[in-house]
Symmetry: C2
Subunit: 349 residues, 2 copies
């Protein structure tokens, strides 16, 4: 069915114009429309012949006999890979983006949130930003604060300027002095260590220093262990913005489809999995329709780009919208957002 002949110049151009047209107004595109809006000046009949070729190759299809043609998934693929002429961002937009994302008084999470909501606002679609998978999340500081008789608040600050806190139920009262003492020991021993290493080292360290510590102290250290353990697990793994913008699109007028999409955003698991795959990609990556392999994205496209911290790729951001989206604009926006986010993260150290 789909012979892989090299496309003629004309066929490519027609496909391009057809896709652009379809993206603009969503309706199937007929031969006459195409003959009018294409720079190639041939009659509608000739165009029909070429369109027939394109259909043979599986790049376009007609929803029914007497309608125009719409791009297939494969057609979109070709369009995105070789035909689309991306619109570079306006300098003004770019500056605005830079300014908004990299506020000086923001911690990592706030930067991510801004990036996400900006991305969604510019593209008018839903956006998602993965929380960075830093190789090194290290301990900067741990502190205990007695709340009431048997409750202690553990505050943990990481090198990402993130503050994580957790309330710990204790079996007896601890004095402020005791708590400070243990916190000091803890900070001296583990400051600058990766959190994951802290977790594993705590056990052996407890063993080793058994002689130097009394029972009370050991108990508190166990508390510290709790604090460090739970701290970064219950964090959300991604930041989502503008889901409800998806309701604007006709493609998602069926409630079922829309609900599946919304659930996908809530469940997160599958979503994360998809994004994970994009970490390796070098630049912008586009999943069209069913390519993602997830049913809830069947009528969607997902445009992603990895972002870095230093040299290392630490996360992915992207937008989710209808397959019929303005790739020429969305692709550069996603690309630039990733770059701006990267430099914002770098300037935070």
């Amino acid at each position: 069915m789909s012979s892989e002949l090299p496309l003629t110049e004309r066929a490519q151009h027609l496909l391009k114009v057809l896709v652009e047209h379809h993206i603009r107004d969503g309706k199937p595109v007929g031969s006459t429309t195409l003959s009018r809006s294409s720079r190639i000046k041939v009659s509608a009949a000739t165009i029909r012949n070429t369109m027939s070729d394109l259909e043979m190759m599986g790049l376009i299809q007609s929803p029914h006999t007497s309608a125009g043609r719409v791009p297939t998934q494969k057609g979109y693929r070709l369009f995105v890979d070789t035909l689309v002429s991306v619109q570079p961002l306006e300098r003004l937009e770019l500056n605005q983006m830079r300014e908004e994302i990299s506020g000086e008084e923001k911690n990592t999470r706030e930067v991510l949130t801004t990036a996400s909501s900006l991305l969604s606002q510019i593209t008018q679609m839903a956006s998602v930003v993965m929380v960075p998978r830093h190789g090194r999340v290290t301990l900067r500081h741990l502190e205990f604060l007695p709340l009431s008789e048997k409750k202690v608040l553990a505050i943990l600050v990481t090198n990402r300027d993130e503050v994580q806190n957790r309330i710990i139920q204790t079996d007896r009262d601890f004095s402020e002095r005791e708590l400070r003492q243990v916190a000091n020991w803890f900070n001296q021993t583990f400051e600058g260590e990766e959190l994951s290493r802290v977790r594993s080292r705590l056990v052996e360290e407890l063993e080793r220093a058994r002689g130097d510590m009394d029972a009370a102290m050991q108990r508190i250290v166990k508390m510290a262990q709790q604090a460090v353990t739970s701290s970064d697990q219950n964090r959300d793994e991604m930041v989502v913005s503008g889901r409800s913008r998806l309701m604007e699109y006709d493609e998602f007028c069926e409630m079922d489809r829309l609900r599946m999409l919304f659930n996908a955003f809530s469940e997160k698991r599958d979503m994360i999995h998809l994004l994970d795959q994009c970490m390796e990609a070098d630049g912008v990556q586009v999943f069209i329709g069913e390519e993602s392999g997830y049913r809830f994205f069947d009528d969607c496209s997902v445009v992603t780009a990895p972002y870095r911290h230093g040299e290392e790729v630490v996360g992915v951001l992207g937008v989710v919208g209808p397959t019929r989206m303005a790739y020429d604009r969305v692709i550069p926006v996603v690309d630039m957002t990733a770059k701006v986010l990267s430099s914002a993260l770098n300037s935070m150290d």
Copy 2:
């Protein structure tokens, strides 16, 4: 049109059965259906007469000549106020709720989140929990942590076990000692004070202690001021759960309506305003259809209940769903959730 005659026993009963029926399957209810499912054994013709009376009073209406009747807003009002027989919660459910909401190792926000998601899960609708408006949010502890050359992390702990943190950009480097010194002074001076009072007192205190402080210290105190000021403004004022559950209901199949609703949840302002009004109410309060006064709630009902901390009412929680909702179940659920939340808050002190 609507004569305010006292309703006969029969008319009341019929209205009740009609509303229950309509709530169950959403279709207009006809006289025959009613004669079959009502305990009153009269013929359909008789029921038709009574229904005609009910229509005169504006309690029910028929969408068109040859359909059954549906309750009007006023009909729902009467039903909710005097006819509904609420289903008390199962002991099992109640216990489960208690357990989930009042975990020992939760801070206020986590408790609210649990309550909200539980409420949404049980009712299968969207839920919203206002963040408590404590009369007294007092300072428990403030701490500075140097992050980099000109960045300081301010960590503020309130008597609600809430940790708020903020990154502050400074104009020069501060040593750890300097920071500790100011934090000490700050904590000694303001510990136990209401945050709002701290804000206002900081100015005069700065003035008064000018002699005792050097320029550097004053600068840090200004930082503290920043920390306290912004701290509780950018907090969300409410916790929302299960918005997407609203997509399940036929009533909201029109995208426009649904979008308006979703936006209302995002905008928050109007929502908060509505909830504020419920603070004064003593128990469960029900807004039916347009009663709320907000256009985006036209086809919705909102069921709210205030919750307390100690004696004082500090917030409101509630659910939002279609007017055609199972009030007999939703009302007690909202009621009990508010009670459980109240006692969870009390046990946190």
